[in-house]
Symmetry: C2
Subunit: 384 residues, 2 copies
């Protein structure tokens, strides 16, 4: 096991009908800015519940944060925060709203060009307090300190990480997910699956417990995923899927482990260039990346075949790894997710060339062994 | 899944040679009291490492906190803290030292009779800052806000819980466990095993992920436990066992689950009356409690037989539960732990009568269904 440090100060409030607890968690004297997305929280009654809980509080609203939150939109919120002096941000919505709000929290306390916080590695010294009512089981943003921000102007999408932007609390009410469009439920399952794989399917540094936990999330997704698709109002299944999503990226499964994140980084480019959903890009890239990098990932993929997919432990490792790749693709198909670029009408060669060009320009190398060069990325996208 | 709230503010610093990081974690202006136990940290060099890290800091020492920390001893430390004005406590040692230090932290800020914090449920409003260098994988105290305190005078042993006594940070260096006497290594494995079972082996409220995680700890203990006993200086095995112990009681495996803790409460009485080690009492009580309460715990014990002990899933549940009970006893024996009162020269009838008397006097009922009355406890101890 590698050495590690870990601290997550976020308070999690999980369960049915918990939005009303907002009033006990935010100090009365705060000037609150509620941030949200396209308005689904109006339709499903979540915004109403939030406002009822904040009766008597001093708050205002900023809506319109998009999926893959756009820098250009967030700049407007930052200006509003600075001009009107909010001192508490409450994100209500999915991971994109929360990610955007994390960036607003940091950039509102920064005097320079906000984009430098993302691309120049400027350290965040201070951030506004933020919290969330999270309504989409997917990104795990509710218990981590990361975000992903896109820039329309340059078609770029980059991660942003700072310990200063851990939510103070996250309210997770699985009932808020009853009304999710099926596509988003599927994206969330795929996103969680791939988060876990970015932390698990690397090389082994002797972390048996963390491996069990990672594969425990996968087994739960395989069982509960089809259940929420069949019965969108099955509370227990919704709760289990949400807790899988949160634990998929709160770092608990990967403490002391080696991480990858190449599938995400390549996927981000597909979103930036073609506008595919994040979950769509992951289901395309993961199987292809595993095929190209199979030798490096053999041990973990073989272990997964035995523990998750019930394969015979006496089969050769290479065959076991193939079983994991095929069964994973099959799972994605079963829950209604495509796994090939062509199925979206995208020419793999064109995509591969553009991504290679971008990675070459930025000197990007990826993967747990830093051996996914632009040429290897080309091969992965070409075969996707 | 039940609703839950969770927040653990402790920073974990895990790995080889991490004690030197103390200097970065404690503010320079603190007046520190280092608390420890019987002096093993002098012999194994841990105290030396701590003092080297705190070169230039203002600190003093309080030694002599016993296993099953005694109220009478802790009162002396509380007096010392109040008289000499320490504002940071650093526990160096095992769970007992840390538990005692948690109590010192709370009682030093309380003006009434300290024992009331334990038995009268007086709320802790404030506590001194505390942190630890934990050297024994067992109690999980390093990432939770609980403690267990004993009173010599009245032969009592009670839990003490307050969110105010979460450690600010915990340094876990698995190398500090190389020199543990075998008996303590075994106690730690048993303690971790039973912690997990107190949170897992109850009734099912649909928590598949938490169940996987709980059983993941058990599987890791079964694999890595014998390894540390064979090779006490195997770093990887020591690291895995320590991380199992920490995760066995940092609440991650039981969020939204139903908990028991009857084995612990009965075991505490055996320690209080006969002076048995905590780990010794647990290995005695757990199998007997499972036999007496088998009907209530059948589903989870059966699931464990399949997932941990490789039993055939088509066997009847009752038989599967028996397999778990027998295989667990066998595991305790294999790592050198007795599972019967008689093996310690204790008369089960006498013990059962005394424990029944105590529980009746205090109106104690235990178990996840609150159906372990003093009479049921009598039966459990009698058969132990």
């Amino acid at each position: 096991m590698n050495n590690f440090e870990f601290r997550c100060p976020t308070k999690v409030i999980f369960g049915a009908d918990t939005i009303s607890k907002l009033k006990d968690e935010i100090p009365q004297d705060k000037k609150i800015l509620i941030t949200y997305g396209g308005g689904s929280i109006r339709k499903n009654g979540v915004l109403k519940q939030v406002k009822e809980a904040l009766e008597g509080f001093n708050y205002n609203e900023f809506g319109g944060i998009e999926p893959n939150p756009k820098y250009e939109t967030l700049l407007k919120a930052i200006e509003m925060v600075k001009n009107e002096g909010y001192d508490f941000l409450l994100a209500v919505g999915g991971g994109s709203v929360l990610d955007g709000t994390k960036f607003i929290a940091a950039a509102s306390k920064y005097e320079g060009e906000p984009w430098d916080l993302i691309t120049k590695g400027v350290e965040v010294k201070e951030a506004l307090e933020l919290a969330d009512v999270i309504t989409l089981p997917a990104t795990g943003s509710e218990m981590n300190c990361g975000a992903v921000i896109s820039r329309l102007e340059t078609k770029e999408k980059f991660p942003f990480i700072s310990e200063k932007v851990y939510p103070k609390f996250s309210i997770i009410d699985p009932k808020t997910t009853y009304s999710l469009p099926e596509k988003q439920t599927v994206n969330g399952i795929v996103d969680t699956f791939v988060h876990v794989m970015e932390q698990y399917a690397t090389y082994d540094v002797n972390t048996p417990l963390q491996d069990q936990w990672a594969l425990g999330i996968i087994k739960t997704l395989l069982e509960e995923g089809p259940k929420v698709l069949r019965e969108p109002q099955n509370y227990e299944a919704r709760a289990n899927i949400f807790w899988c999503a949160t634990c998929g990226l709160n770092y608990w499964i990967s403490l002391g482990c080696v991480q990858d994140w190449a599938t995400h980084m390549i996927g981000h480019e597909l979103t930036a260039i073609y506008g595919l959903d994040h979950g769509e890009t992951l289901a395309i890239i993961l199987p292809s990346l595993w095929r190209v990098m199979k030798k490096d990932k053999m041990d973990k993929l073989a272990k997964m075949a035995i523990q998750v997919y019930g394969a015979n432990e006496f089969l050769p490792k290479s065959l076991l790894a193939d079983i994991t790749i095929k069964k994973t693709e099959k799972f994605f198909h079963n829950i209604g997710r495509k796994t090939k670029l062509k199925e979206y009408g995208i020419d793999p060669k064109e995509a591969a060339q553009e991504i290679k060009r971008r990675f070459s320009e930025r000197n990007t190398v990826l993967g747990e062994r830093q051996n996914i060069t632009p040429d290897v990325a080309y091969e992965i996208v070409l075969n996707a």
